[in-house]
Amino acid sequence: MTRRDLTSHLGLIAGLFALHFILPAYHHGVFARVMVLAVYAIGYNIAFGYTGLLSLGHAMFFGAGMYGVGIASYHFAIPALPAWIIGLGCGALLALVVGLLALRTEGVSFMIVTLMFAQAAYLVILYFSEYTRGDDGLVIPGDMRAIGSWDLSDEGTRYLLAWALFSIALMLSLWLVRHPFGRVLVALRENEERARLLGYDTGGRKLAALVISGTISAAAGGAYATMFGYVGASFAGVQYSIFALLWVLLGGAGTVLGPFVGVLFMTYLNDVASGVTEAYMLIAGVVLVLLTLFAPQGIVGEIRRRFWKDLP
């Protein structure tokens, strides 16, 4: 990892910390949400951006983290931090099981299989409504949304926790892609057969990448549930799987900063467009088409292509 890598990524982290003191209340809340969703996108980027695993079912991992926290807090009165760890474990376990089965396929088949697993997970959530409260979802009791003396219903605390989680995920992602293991993931994405013929157990590496990716996504889902106090089936639906793909593509697949930029861009694009017209998705759609035409590698990907060749 070079000094330049560290400076640029720590610079973003420092900038986000500084924003805590200057952002108006509304944007403060938006940024907290953006940072948590960016962690989800960072997880997705490890599978898709770096390893080339195009999953259309990542919302099941986000949902696993969310429902792990929700059920632990709502039904068993488990405090926020242990509940979050349970959520993390649920995501890791689900990613392991799904990976063992889905990674027998590749390309379009992998995409379809992950989509089917995610739909099955979504239906399981609706079916076991006794525990998940189905479409209504779970509202996590206020006293379960605290870590020690930190009250997560307080916006300032929420922002700082979202910032801490995002900082850890970002630096973990940077470390991973600069680590020899990360190089092998990129090698797999580039040419799996060649990597195998250099002696790499590509199946094992892909499974490891998917489990890491699913665990980070679950960490985001669990944090979202604890911070915002609500767990709903829609977060595990296909729409949230496509959001992750969209954020990563817009920000720049296979770039460390891309997921954050993608989430930030989409959030504010929808926000601004909805202030102009009720048909805000139309405006968002046109902007996305233009971006795809003129920056096909995503915003950060384009910066890397034009100005900063070794941007991770």
Binding site: N191, L197, L198, Y200, K309, D310
Partner: protein, 235 residues
């Protein structure tokens, strides 16, 4: 000693290689020749486990390579440089070598030593370490693909048409590397179509036609047998 005996292999229902036998001794360059579609690349893939053997044996120093999954074959001392190089084009030269080393020696000092050896063997790569592999010239890509395979410190080096489409200076550089590898005691198995390129280089030539052994030439038989060799290849 590397030895193939009675190898029959193919893709699904299509049998490409029929009872092929071949030997490649350590410290020798064995050239595999044949017309387009004769089964040369399929043979290379069968050695690497990418095409499953229906019958026969592929042995390197007593290990039956045909019984191994593809990712374990390199660990038993086989380095493969496929046709078309197939680099990790988004990775830099240094990162490509790093990936090659990752599957090679586990000891850090040994890895450094191997890396330095590669840069000594291909000094041009040393000048391009930060450059993305996809932006290298054809000759440099071939050097990198060969260096990456050599990072595994193989006993057997498979090269599938390594000089295809290269300029003469690059062809000579690649030839020099093959000679050096032979002199260091590696068995080099080279697929080549151009007779002129191998007449002096080869210690043994094996010709296959329609997936079967056609004729073998030992070193003393190569020059006198040039006309027959050309007839096999239809040139």
């Amino acid at each position: 000693m590397f030895q193939i005996e009675g190898l029959t292999a193919g893709y699904g229902q299509a049998t490409i290689l029929r009872e092929v036998s071949l030997q490649a001794a350590l410290g020798e360059i064995t050239v595999l020749m044949g017309r387009n579609g004769a089964g040369k690349t399929t043979l290379m893939k069968a050695i690497m486990g990418l095409v499953r053997a229906e019958a026969g044996q592929i042995r390197l120093d007593g290990t039956d390579l045909a019984a191994l999954p593809p990712h374990q074959v390199p660990g038993h001392g086989v380095g493969y440089v496929p046709q078309g190089r197939r680099l990790f084009s988004e990775l830099t030269v240094a990162q490509n070598i790093e990936v090659g080393l990752g599957a090679g020696p586990k000891d850090a000092a040994k890895r450094r030593e191997t890396r330095d050896e590669m840069l000594e063997l291909f000094p041009r790569l040393g000048e391009r370490m930060g450059q993305r592999a996809g932006t290298l010239s054809g000759g440099e890509q071939q050097m990198l693909a060969t260096a990456r395979a050599l990072c595994l410190r193989p006993k057997l080096l498979l090269l599938d048409e390594p000089t295809e489409g290269l300029q003469p200076s690059m062809i000579e550089a690649i030839r020099q590397v093959m000679v050096q590898m032979r002199d260091r005691g590696l068995a080099v198995l080279l697929v080549e179509q151009r007779i002129d390129a191998v007449l002096e280089l080869a210690d043994r030539i094996s010709v296959i036609e329609m997936g079967r052994n056609a004729e073998d030439f030992t070193k003393p038989e190569i020059a006198p047998g040039e006309t027959r060799l050309r007839a096999h290849l239809g040139v």
